[in-house]
């Protein structure tokens, strides 16, 4: 009996991991969307975190906690560098520069022989595991929940509704924007590192446009009223291709359709709860 339980777990292990990783990615998008900016750079940050973390363990032989730290700091640094100049501009420019960043990082990894180039990095040791994954996810959900209920959360919502008004009312808009971008980059990088150490192989083409839109669809489906929204969206979209096998070919089509439907008809997403605030 125990044997068949452990077999069952082994069979679905990847999916179970995937839900948690995608949940963290969903939260990363949630951060940026909740101040009204479009998040298209998450895939790039995830890739940076995955690569730096994997290089730390495979090439430099560093312990896993160090790799995790690297995978959080590297994307943060990039976000700071890119964010500062582009955040002065309207959302469209930020979105496009994020897409550009994604392509640049993909091309850099592709040509970086030390990181495997086109062949990617294989043989990444297995680290972390399901408890760490879900632990991180739960901690993040709780943390973001509290942030959302605080004054910071109120400022962020104000920015989402009307950036100019928020600025006039005393919200330091540029600083919030930058901080949010950096925070979301850190989360995406963390997800990348965790995921890399559970799939033993990463390649540069995994973190491109397709991944960016997939991550976006987590939050669009689940809604961004609470942190649970994107996590739920991620869970559903991760399970869907497995549960409905025949839909596998149409996975991308469904992602696309979801984004369309969500933006047009369900701007609040599936879980349209809103945060109750006490402050």
């Amino acid at each position: 009996m125990l044997d068949s339980l452990s077999d069952l777990y082994w069979t679905y292990q990847n999916i179970i991991h995937g839900i948690a990783v995608n949940g963290i990615l969903g939260l990363s998008v949630y951060l940026v969307l909740s101040i009204g900016q479009l998040a298209l750079g998450q895939a790039a940050f995830m890739g940076i975190g995955a690569y730096f973390g994997a290089i730390a363990t495979t090439k430099l032989g560093l312990p896993f906690p160090v790799a995790l730290l690297t995978s959080v700091l590297a994307p943060a640094a990039v976000a700071l560098a890119i964010g500062a100049p582009t955040l002065r501009l309207t959302g469209v420019y930020l979105a496009i520069s994020m897409l550009g960043l994604g392509e640049i990082s993909r091309l850099l990894f592709l040509n970086w022989e030390y990181a495997g180039g086109a062949l990617g990095l294989s043989g990444i040791p297995e680290r972390g595991g399901v408890y760490l994954l879900y632990g991180v996810l739960i901690v993040l959900i709780i943390a973001l929940f509290f942030v959302g209920r605080s004054r910071i959360g109120r400022a962020m919502e104000a920015m989402r509704e009307d950036e100019t008004a928020a600025g006039v009312m005393g919200v330091n808009v540029p600083r919030y924007k930058l901080a949010t971008l950096v925070a979301s980059a850190m989360l995406a990088g963390l997800a990348g590192c965790l995921s890399a150490h559970l799939s033993s192989f990463i390649g540069p083409n995994e973190y491109g446009f397709e991944m960016a839109t997939t991550i976006l669809s987590f939050a669009l489906l689940g809604g961004i009223g609470t942190p649970l929204g994107p996590v739920a969206g991620a869970a559903i979209l991760t399970l869907l291709p497995e549960v409905l096998r025949f839909l596998a070919d149409y996975r991308l089509m469904i992602n696309g359709a979801i984004i369309v439907v969500a933006v047009l008809f369900m701007p609040r997403g599936l879980l349209s709860w809103r945060m109750k605030r006490t402050v």
Binding site: P85, V92, Y93, L101, T164, L216, L252, G256, L264
Partner: protein
């Protein structure tokens, strides 16, 4: 070799310019970032391919077929997806998101229906002569692309600046409400702009499919990211900017590959994009769009 490389760059630049023209027009006039534009390429190419295979049309007739077909599809997509957002005065981000979704949907749909193998137009589709002038080799289709890009740009600019229709279009772009009050049929103008932009995209798809002998559902996608670079560098919404930046990027890319390193060819477009965003976000010809909040 330099002359040949310049010619190569010019031809490549023409393809970028074609992409950017329709794309930037949609943004400049309708305030919409329409990513489904990339799909229009494939739609136009496939429509022309069908026309050439089943009715035996050659490029001169199949091109307009492809263009008109795509123009109509553009109107449909715009009506289904974007009108609702415009009416609700939704932020630009919403149109970006919704068209991302639609693009994903349409590309995958096309590849499910048609498969992803590349196809080419039949051999008698277009003249295949090659000329050699001053040590430079030019194929007829390449000349066709450059001429087409310049002609379409000229036509567009003339329509927008020199005709009454163009006046109406610009009015709607500036202030839709005021234009409506002045008796301009905003809906009709929108349809017109969608149609023109779709038609350009479809025509571009035919020409590009012809020039590179590679028709497949994702043919626009590769362009897309580069296309962003072009319209930002040229200035969002500016037709001249799209044209000039397109040609410029083509030439720079080719020269980079020819004289520097071919691995850098892909990188250069995005590097230029990032630099533009840092230094002069409105691009070469754009109007100020940065907020000072």
């Amino acid at each position: 070799m330099l002359q040949q490389q310049l010619v190569n760059g010019f031809v490549l630049g023409a393809t970028y310019a074609l992409f950017a023209l329709g794309f930037t027009m949609m943004f400049g006039v309708l305030g919409v970032i329409n990513l489904t534009y990339g799909v229009y390429f494939a739609l136009g190419a496939f429509a022309a391919l069908w026309a050439s295979k089943s009715i035996g049309l050659s490029v001169w007739l199949a091109l307009p077929v492809g263009a008109i077909f795509t123009g109509c599809i553009a109107i449909v997509i715009d009506t289904l997806l974007l009108t609702r957002l415009r009416r609700a005065k939704a932020p630009e981000l919403s149109s970006l998101m919704v068209t991302i979704g639609a693009t994903l949907f349409l590309y995958t749909g096309l590849s499910v229906v048609y498969g992803t193998e590349i196809r080419r137009f039949p051999l008698d589709f277009a003249p295949s002569a090659a000329f050699e002038i001053f040590g430079v080799r030019v194929v007829a289709t390449q000349a066709l692309i450059v001429v087409a890009a310049l002609l379409m740009a000229a036509a567009l600019i003339w329509i927008v600046r020199g005709t009454k229709v163009g006046l109406a279009v610009r009015g709607v772009a500036e202030n839709p409400d005021a234009a409506a009050l002045m008796g301009v049929n905003g809906g009709l103008v929108t349809h017109l702009v969608s149609f023109m932009s779709g038609a350009i995209g479809g025509a571009a798809g035919v020409l590009i499919g012809l020039n590179f002998n590679a028709i497949q559902p994702f043919m626009g996608e590769n362009m897309m990211l580069r296309g962003f670079a072009v319209i930002i560098i040229g200035g969002l919404g500016d037709l001249r900017g799209a044209l000039i930046a397109g040609f410029l990027l083509g030439i720079i890319e080719v020269l980079t590959a020819g004289y520097f390193a071919s691995a850098a060819k892909d990188l250069i477009a995005f590097a230029l994009l990032v630099i533009t965003l840092w230094v002069r976000p409105v691009g070469l010809f754009g109007r100020a769009a940065a907020k000072r909040a």
